[in-house]
């Protein structure tokens, strides 16, 4: 077979005799490995960023749902638990035990149990504010390398009806 000079396979003996530093056969593989590292870092970075962004948007939505539920809970027997339920329903893929929730009604804490929350409503006028402050942790791991341990938060307020 007539190979062009450049593509002609070297005789096995010639390959054996050449030193490893002069060998160009694996160059593409090495380059590919380097390129793959950068590409994968970028790709997984995008994926991770997308996940964290999704979490943040869900948390924002959950805070708003919680504030709204709390704002219509005057006179309810279970203002705290129904607010927490509304919040969890609004953020189905967040780990609900990881969400730090601070609920207030007109500045009074509505945290922990329904009794505290009912007391927070008191007998006040309608111009009090129901507020939900939520925090959620995010670990920015890209390719198993921990970039940063962070958390993000969001606040939503609603007028008590």
């Amino acid at each position: 077979m007539n190979w062009p000079a450049k593509m002609r396979p070297r005789a096995p003996s010639a390959r054996r005799s050449s030193s490893i530093s002069g060998d160009e056969n694996g160059a593409t593989a090495v380059e590919f490995a380097l390129v793959l590292l950068v590409t994968a870092l970028l790709l997984f970075g995008i994926i991770k960023f997308g996940l964290v962004l999704n979490n943040q948007i869900q948390l924002t939505h959950a805070a708003s749902a919680a504030a709204r539920q709390l704002s219509i809970s005057r006179g309810s027997a279970t203002p705290y638990s129904s607010t927490i339920a509304a919040m969890r329903n609004a953020a189905p893929t967040l780990k609900s035990t990881d969400i730090t929730t601070t609920l207030t009604v007109g500045g009074a804490a509505c945290t922990g149990d329904d009794q505290t929350c009912r007391d927070a409503f008191g007998t006040g006028t309608t111009t009090v504010q129901a507020q939900a402050v939520l925090r959620y942790p995010c670990n920015l791991n890209v390719l198993f390398i921990r970039v940063a341990n962070c958390s993000f938060g969001t606040t939503a307020a609603a007028l008590v009806q």
């Binding site: 924002t60 709204r68 307020a157 007028l159």
Partner: protein, 221 residues
């Protein structure tokens, strides 16, 4: 000192086929980084959009509480709970948030029966908030997009929908004992009959003339 052999280097560069992947990758990296950047920019817009919608919802719900009774209080409440800078639901990640039209728009919806509203009467039963945010772009700037302006609208009415009518039957006792004094009546010195009539009047005033049906009967009649 060795002289740099430019011609020799250039010839070597032309012949070399070892580093073909590097320039290709360098080119594609520009696109990849651009795409990652675009994803971040658009992602931020989506986050702002979510906040805009949440704050618009809170604003109209705060406003509807008083829209039928006190429209200026409704405007104030809607502004207070909006996503504007310095308000209770301030939107993060945007350079500025404005309310389209400058303020919450008070509406008179004829489809809403309770509380009813006649257009042009200066009374309102609904409120609309449209918010717009300006989100600066950091990566998409390269292709000429310097900012995006997501919008969110929320509408709410005072009680909503058409009211459900009530069927009320009032039966009034008209026996002689109704002439006796009623010590429990809120009207001092009123007889039981006067007190009952006052009660019926209060009941009728609480009903809606356009919706509810009331029957009246006296016994022994």
């Amino acid at each position: 000192m060795r002289r740099l052999n430019i011609a020799g280097l250039a010839a070597g560069f032309r012949r070399a086929d070892g580093g073909v992947m590097a320039p290709i990758f360098a080119l594609s990296l520009v696109i990849l980084v651009g795409m990652a950047g675009a994803a971040m920019d658009v992602g931020r817009v989506m986050w702002v959009k979510r906040q805009l919608q949440s704050s618009a919802d809170a604003a109209v719900l705060a406003g509807t509480l008083s829209v039928a009774s006190n429209s200026s209080a409704a405007t104030t409440a809607a502004n207070d709970y909006s996503g504007l800078s310095g308000k209770k639901n301030t939107v993060l990640g945007a350079t500025s948030v404005t309310m389209v039209g400058g303020a919450p728009q008070l509406k008179c919806f004829s489809s809403v029966k309770v509380p009813a509203c006649t257009p042009g009467s200066g009374k309102y039963n609904g409120i609309v908030v449209t918010q717009e945010a300006r989100v600066p772009m950091y990566f998409l700037r390269v292709v000429g997009v310097t900012e995006m302006t997501p919008r969110a609208t929320a509408t709410a009415s005072a009680r909503g929908g058409s009211g459900r009518s009530l069927d009320v039957m009032v039966v009034l006792d008209a026996t002689a004992s109704m002439n006796n004094l009623d010590p429990n009546c809120s009207i001092a010195g009123a007889s039981k009959m006067e007190c009952a009539k006052a009660g019926v009047r209060a009941l009728l005033q609480g009903l809606n003339a356009n919706l509810d049906r009331v029957g009246f009967m006296v016994f022994p009649g």
